[in-house]
C-alpha cells in the first residue's frame, strides 16, 4: 500500500497521538463515565489503523515492532489474573480495594485509588490488553492481505512462521 496524499498524512499526524491520549482517558475513567477497558482499548487500536491507512503498510511495518504489542497483550492478561487471585482469601475476583460510599463522602471525595476498587484497576489491565490485541489483529490482517497466492502444497508441510 502506498502512502496517501499530503493532506491525509498531515491530518493523520495531527490526530494519531491524540487518539492514544483519548483512548487512555476513556480507559482510566471507565468506572464513572461511559467507556472502560474494551472501549478505550479499541480507540487506542485505531492509532495503528490510522497510520496504516495514511502512510502505507511498508513504512508502518518498519516503524512498529510487533513485540511491543505482544507484551501489552500478555501483560494486560496476567495483570487481570493477578488482581483476580489477590483477593483469594475471601473468594476469586474479590474486590478487596473497594471503599463504601459513605466513607468516600466523609473523606472529601475520591482519592488516588478510586472507590470502585479493583474494578478500575482491572479495567486498566483490560484496556492495555485490548489495545495490544486489536492492534495485532489489524497488523496481522494487513500482512495477510499482502501475501501472494502461492501454489497448493498437497501434503502436510511445516508452516512458514510469520
Amino acid at each position: 500500500m502506498k502512502p496517501l496524499s499530503v493532506v491525509v498524512r498531515t491530518g493523520c499526524d495531527m490526530f494519531a497521538w491524540f487518539m492514544v491520549v483519548f483512548g487512555t482517558y476513556v480507559i482510566i475513567h471507565g468506572d464513572v463515565t461511559p467507556g472502560g477497558g474494551f472501549q478505550g482499548g479499541a480507540v487506542v487500536a485505531t492509532f495503528a489503523a490510522l497510520l496504516l491507512v495514511a502512510y502505507g503498510g511498508e513504512k508502518v511495518l518498519s516503524w512498529i515492532s510487533l513485540d511491543v504489542y505482544n507484551t501489552f497483550l500478555t501483560a494486560g492478561l496476567l495483570l487481570f489474573l493477578l488482581f483476580g487471585f489477590a483477593g483469594m482469601g475471601t473468594s476469586f475476583l474479590y474486590n478487596f480495594l473497594a471503599v463504601p460510599e459513605a466513607v468516600v463522602h466523609a473523606g472529601g471525595g475520591p482519592a488516588v485509588i478510586p472507590p470502585s476498587g479493583t474494578i478500575a484497576l482491572m479495567d486498566i489491565a483490560v484496556g492495555l490488553e485490548v489495545a495490544g490485541g486489536l492492534t495485532l489483529i489489524i497488523l496481522y490482517m494487513f500482512k495477510g492481505s499482502r501475501l501472494e497466492i502461492n501454489s497448493e502444497t498437497g501434503g502436510e508441510t511445516g508452516h512458514d512462521s510469520w
Binding site: N70, T74, L78, S91, F92, L93, G155, G158, H159, D160
Partner: protein, 521 residues
C-alpha cells in the same frame, strides 16, 4: 487458606492461568512450554477429581464469584442472588471429570504430535481456552455466564479447527462451522434476553423457582433447544461435525467431543433444572427421543461408506450422541410420573448419563489412534494404509479396546450403558430398541472394516518409511485406555458411585434450586 473451599474457582482459574501465561513460558524454549502444557493439564485433572470427591461427600457446592463469603448466595436482606454463582452438583462434577480426562490425554498427545509445526504457543493458549470454555459451561449456575463460556469455547475451537492453514479444507471446515455456530450462539442469547426481560433474573436456580410456562418461555425453550442441539450435533444440524472433527488436529478432535457433550449437558440442565416441573407437555421429550433416533441411524449409515478415517469417526460421534439423547429423553418423558420414573425412567437416565462418560473416553481414544495413524503414514485415507499392526502393536491394541467399547461388545463399558438404554427403551416402545440395536450392529461393521484395512493385511508399498510412534503419544492414548479399562472391570462401583449420583442430581430440581435460594423458595 483453605484451598479445598475454593476448588470450584480453581477449576476455572487454573486453565485461565495456563492460557495467559503460555506466551511467557514460550520465551524459555520449546521444552519449557511443553512442560507448562502438561503440568497445567494434569493440575486441571487433579482439581476436577478433588472437586468430584468433594461433591460426592458434601452435596451441591455453591461458589459466589467475588462475594464477601464465597458460599453465601443470598447476602443479608436480599431475596434474589445478585452475583455470578457457580453451582456444582453431581452431574456437573461428573461431566467436569470426563472433560478434564480428555483434555489431559489430548495435551499429552499433542506434545509430540504437533512438534514440527510453528505457532505452538498460540496452540497451547487456544487449547487451554477451549478447556476453560468447556469446564465453564459445565459448572456455571448462571444463564448468561453459560453463553459467555459457550462463546469462549466456540471461538477457541474455530481457531483450532483452522490450525493447519496450509490445507484449504481445514479453513473451509472452520468457515462453515463458524457460520452455523455463530447463529446458534445468537439464538441462545436471544432466549437468555427474553427470559431476562420477563423475570429480571439470570441465575438458573432462581429462574427455576419462579418459572411459569407462557408464550415467551415456550419460545425461549424452542430457541435454546435448537441452538444447543446444533452445537452438540443432533440430526438436522449435524453437517458441521464431519468437516470440523476431521480437519482439526487429532488432540483437538479428542477435546471437541467433550465440548459438544457440554452443550448437550446445557440442554439437559435447561430442560431438567430450569423448566423441570413446568414441562407438562411431553413434546420436548418426544422431540429429543425422535431426533436421537434419527441421528443414530442416519449418521451410522453415512459412516459405513466413508474411506477417510477421521470423517468416519466423526459420523460415529453423531450417532453415539443419538444414544445419549435417547436415554435422557426417555427420562425426561416420564419425569412427572413417579412410578414410571422408578420403573424404567431412572434406568434410561443412568444409561444416557453413563454413555456420556463412556463416549468421551472411547471416542477420544479413537480420534487419538486416528491421529497416530496419520502420524505414522502421513495420510488419512484408508485405501493407503495396511498392515500397521506390525509397526505399532500398542496402537492396534488400544484401537481394538476402543472399537469394542463403541460397538457395545460385552464386557466393555459401552455394553453396560447400551444395555441400560435398551432395557428402558423397550418399555417405552419396542421399535426404539430395534433401531438402537441395528445402529449397534452397523457400528461394529464399520469398525471391523477400519481395523482390518488399517492394521491387518499386507503392508502397503508406500509405508516402508513410516514413522515411529513417540512415547508421549502413547501416554496420551494410555490415559484414556486406562479409564476405559477401569470402567469395564468395575461396572458396579462405577454405576453406583459415578453415575447414580449424577442421574439423581439431574432429576432433583428442588435440590438444585434450594442450594441457591437457601430454602426460602
Amino acid at each position: 487458606m483453605n484451598w479445598q473451599a475454593h476448588l470450584p474457582a480453581l477449576l476455572l482459574a487454573v486453565p485461565l492461568l495456563g492460557a495467559f501465561a503460555a506466551p511467557v513460558f514460550n520465551l524459555g524454549g520449546k521444552t519449557l512450554r511443553n512442560v507448562w502444557f502438561i503440568t497445567v493439564s494434569t493440575c486441571v485433572f487433579l482439581v476436577a477429581f478433588a472437586l468430584w470427591r468433594d461433591v460426592s461427600v458434601n452435596g451441591i457446592l455453591v461458589y459466589v464469584m467475588g462475594g464477601e463469603d464465597f458460599a453465601l448466595s443470598l447476602p443479608s436482606g436480599m431475596k434474589l442472588p445478585v452475583r455470578i454463582i457457580l453451582e456444582i452438583d453431581a452431574m456437573s462434577a461428573f461431566m467436569a471429570l470426563a472433560g478434564s480426562i480428555t483434555s489431559m490425554a489430548g495435551a499429552w498427545f499433542s506434545v509430540s504430535y504437533m512438534d514440527r509445526f510453528s505457532g505452538m504457543s498460540r496452540f497451547v493458549s487456544l487449547y487451554f481456552l477451549l478447556t476453560l470454555g468447556m469446564l465453564g459451561m459445565m459448572v456455571t449456575g448462571d444463564l448468561f455466564n453459560f453463553f459467555v463460556f459457550l462463546e469462549i469455547a466456540s471461538v477457541a475451537s474455530y481457531g483450532l479447527v483452522a490450525f493447519w492453514r496450509d490445507k484449504p479444507q481445514a479453513i473451509e471446515a472452520s468457515f462453515k462451522y463458524m457460520v452455523m455456530s455463530q447463529i446458534a450462539a445468537m439464538l441462545v442469547l436471544i432466549a437468555v434476553g427474553f427470559l431476562y426481560g420477563r423475570y429480571n433474573l439470570l441465575n438458573m436456580g432462581a429462574l427455576g423457582s419462579v418459572m411459569q410456562m407462557g408464550l415467551v418461555e415456550k419460545v425461549s425453550l424452542a430457541l435454546l433447544f435448537s441452538a444447543l442441539a446444533l452445537k452438540c450435533g443432533s440430526f438436522p444440524m449435524y453437517l458441521w461435525i464431519p468437516d470440523a472433527y476431521a480437519e482439526a488436529p487429532a488432540s483437538v478432535s479428542c477435546l471437541l467431543v467433550t465440548v459438544s457433550q457440554a452443550s448437550l449437558y446445557g440442554l439437559f440442565r435447561v430442560a431438567f433444572s430450569i423448566y423441570g416441573v413446568s414441562l407438562t407437555n411431553s413434546v420436548v421429550a418426544w422431540a429429543i427421543i425422535i431426533l436421537g433416533l434419527i441421528s443414530m441411524l442416519v449418521a451410522v449409515s453415512m459412516a459405513v461408506v466413508q474411506h477417510e478415517v477421521k470423517r468416519l469417526m466423526a459420523y460415529h460421534a453423531i450417532s453415539q450422541t443419538g444414544y445419549m439423547m435417547l436415554g435422557v429423553g426417555i427420562g425426561l418423558l416420564v419425569l412427572g410420573n413417579p412410578e414410571a420414573l422408578a420403573e424404567y425412567g431412572f434406568t434410561a437416565l443412568k444409561g444416557g448419563v453413563f454413555h456420556i462418560f463412556n463416549h468421551a473416553m472411547y471416542k477420544g481414544l479413537l480420534f487419538l489412534t486416528a491421529g497416530t495413524l496419520f502420524y505414522m503414514t502421513g495420510s488419512r485415507d484408508l485405501n493407503k494404509m495396511g498392515g500397521l499392526i506390525r509397526r505399532s502393536p500398542g496402537t492396534a491394541f488400544m484401537f481394538v479396546i476402543a472399537a469394542a467399547a463403541i460397538a457395545g461388545l460385552p464386557p466393555m463399558n459401552g455394553y453396560t450403558s447400551k444395555l441400560l438404554i435398551y432395557q428402558s427403551s423397550f418399555a417405552v416402545h419396542p421399535f426404539i430398541t430395534v433401531v438402537a440395536l441395528v445402529t449397534s450392529v452397523l457400528t461394529l461393521a464399520s469398525f471391523v472394516k477400519v481395523f482390518q484395512t488399517a492394521f491387518l493385511g499386507p503392508e502397503h508399498k508406500a509405508l516402508v518409511n513410516a514413522r515411529k510412534v513417540p512415547s508421549t503419544m502413547m501416554v496420551g492414548m494410555g490415559i484414556l485406555t486406562v479409564a476405559i479399562l477401569l470402567l469395564t472391570f468395575l461396572p458396579g462401583s462405577a454405576l453406583s458411585n459415578l453415575v447414580e449420583p449424577a442421574a439423581k442430581a439431574l432429576v432433583d430440581q428442588a435440590g438444585y434450586i434450594g442450594a441457591i435460594m437457601g430454602g426460602a423458595f
